[in-house]
């Protein structure tokens, strides 16, 4: 049976007390990669615990939400199911009682459930998943937990966009607590950060099917594009198939885009004759031929000019007829300068 909602923690008891509902609680200081404090609720028949004891705790997360004052509030807290005194490393390695070194402390959670909601933060570095945990039987109360998801490129986790609503996932997470001052109050937040995630059951099959389809699509595309079959096979035989497939597809798309852009540019590019003419010819406005008198003079000059042969026009040696008047004016000016 896989764990649906489980916490395993080891640390030192820092404080014993009661919460506002009268439940017995203890604060566990976990001096792991990042020092964290967790508050666990304990049932009344828990063993005698003392401050400073090193313990191993197994428990679960309880969560619920309520609507009050036009605002939905979400609550989640940790419950300790079993607490046992931790062994020192001397006891573990040598079998002798005593010693003060208890080894590394950590806190890990294991969850399995369905993704109900997902969101991204403003920076795009962190995502959030709301996971409805699997129930063992119908009588069990529903529990949903919020987990934080690292979306940075260096993350080892699967792409956040691949996770869809209603996907069945199982994940391993760490708990890091942060203390913040909000107004005059000091508020403690327990963040559940995802360390590893995988699709489970039907979602995994669906995901694998998608990858296979993608693989077939790439092979077909390669064949259509007349790439070598070895190249296509190499692309799909990478260990990280999905990444390789995505990269390869991106390359193909880039190539296609470059080709399409080149074709488009070739279409849009004016013919050499026109371009040459436009380069040489100033516009009417540039020459200041907007006056009606000048326009008439220009048209008269155009009438006087002999017809230009079409071959010359095509070769760009002589300007086309419609620009004849302007060209005449321009060439006259040039002649004037030379003289």
């Amino acid at each position: 049976m896989y764990p649906r909602n489980k916490i395993r923690a080891s640390g030192k008891i820092k404080r014993l007390g009661k919460d506002k509902y009268g439940h017995g609680t203890f604060t566990l200081a976990v001096n792991g990669q990042k020092p964290t404090e967790m508050i666990f609720c304990v049932s009344n028949n828990s063993p005698d615990l003392r401050m400073g004891d090193h313990v191993n705790v197994t428990g679960h997360v309880v969560s619920y939400s309520y609507y009050a004052g036009g605002k939905r509030t979400y609550v989640q807290y940790f419950v300790a199911d079993s607490v046992s005194l931790a062994k020192t490393e001397r006891e573990i390695y040598f079998g002798t009682k005593g010693g003060t070194w208890y080894g590394e402390q950590n806190c890990t959670c294991y969850f399995c459930g369905t993704v109900v909601y997902k969101s991204k933060d403003r920076t795009g570095s962190w995502g959030k998943l709301l996971i409805a945990l699997d129930k063992e039987n119908d009588k069990e109360r529903e529990a949903s937990i919020w987990v934080t998801y690292d979306m940075t490129p260096s993350s080892r986790l699967i792409d956040f966009d691949r996770i869809k609503k209603n996907d069945h996932v199982c994940l391993v997470a760490k708990i890091f607590s942060v203390t913040k001052k909000i107004g005059k109050d000091t508020v403690r937040f327990d963040n559940i950060i995802t360390e590893d995630i995988a699709f489970f059951g039907e979602s995994a099959e669906k995901n694998n099917k998608k990858i296979t389809e993608k693989k077939n699509l790439i092979v077909t595309k390669h064949k259509r594009k007349r790439h070598s079959s070895a190249q296509a096979e190499q692309a799909v035989s990478e260990p990280n198939m999905e990444q390789a497939a995505a990269d390869f597809e991106q390359d193909l798309l880039n190539k296609e885009n470059t080709q399409a852009a080149a074709e488009q540019a070739a279409e849009d590019r004016p013919s050499t004759d026109d371009a040459a003419v436009r380069k040489e010819m100033p516009t009417a406005e540039e020459n200041g031929t907007t006056d009606e008198g000048e326009r008439e003079a220009a048209s008269e000059a155009a009438e006087k000019e002999p017809d230009v042969p079409k071959a010359d026009e095509a070769a760009g040696k002589n300007p086309p007829k419609r620009f004849g008047s302007l060209f005449g004016r321009f060439s006259n000016r040039e002649g004037g300068t030379q003289a």
Binding site: Q33, R90, Y93, Y110, V172
Partner: protein, 201 residues
């Protein structure tokens, strides 16, 4: 007599040391990140770079006279006897392939003859304890391993020991990186996490 190393970490590279031995570089993402080198006796099969591995091995130490530098040098290094892939947490808990391996650590378990201790010149809090351990591995020589101990924590135990008493230690590793002749050098410092002794009858 015990001389064991247990480590879990990720292989970040294969290198060759100054003696020509083939080493693997293990990155242990513990509370403070460590980079430890292990000499390989046998070439590992089916283990690649970036794989998470479990290593069990031993520690070897010896001193030699360098003819080039004309001075005595003392060397201690780790030897990997067995190496296998470490299962990820998802694999352990759900039977699914995962990428994250929990409980990365390195521990050295020593049990041998106490040979004495020297207080550090820089700090009176620290001393260096010499322990003669069993000759293990290919070379059948006894090894004298030097381990740093905090006198504040274990001073009473260490001062109560006599020469050739049996001492047991659980040792951790720190790997500070320092610049040496313009090049970064990773030191492997051993420090005691727990020390207890047994007087000779």
């Amino acid at each position: 007599m015990r001389n064991e190393i247990k480590a879990v970490g990720r292989i970040t590279g294969y290198v060759r040391d100054e003696f020509g031995n083939r080493n693997i570089v293990l990155h242990v993402s513990d509370k403070d990140k460590k980079q430890v080198k292990f000499v390989l006796d046998n070439e590992p099969k089916g283990i690649k770079r970036n794989d998470f591995v479990e290593i069990s091995g031993h520690i070897t130490a010896f001193s030699y006279h360098s003819q080039i530098f004309e001075k005595d040098s003392y060397v201690q290094y780790f030897v990997a006897d067995e190496m296998k892939k470490a299962p990820s947490i998802l694999e352990e808990q759900f039977g699914l392939p995962g990428k994250y391996v929990e409980n990365q650590h390195i521990r050295i378990i020593l049990e041998g003859k106490f040979k004495g201790y020297t207080v550090s010149k820089n700090s009176e809090e620290w001393c260096e304890v010499s322990v003669m351990i069993d000759s293990s591995g290919m070379d059948k020589r006894p090894n004298t391993v030097k381990v740093s101990c905090s006198l504040n924590r274990f001073g009473k135990t260490i001062k109560g020991l006599k020469k050739d008493d049996t001492v047991a230690m659980i040792v951790g590793v720190r790997t500070p990186k320092k610049e040496f002749h313009g090049q970064p050098v990773v030191f492997e410092n051993l420090f005691a996490l727990d020390v207890f002794g047994k007087k000779q009858n």
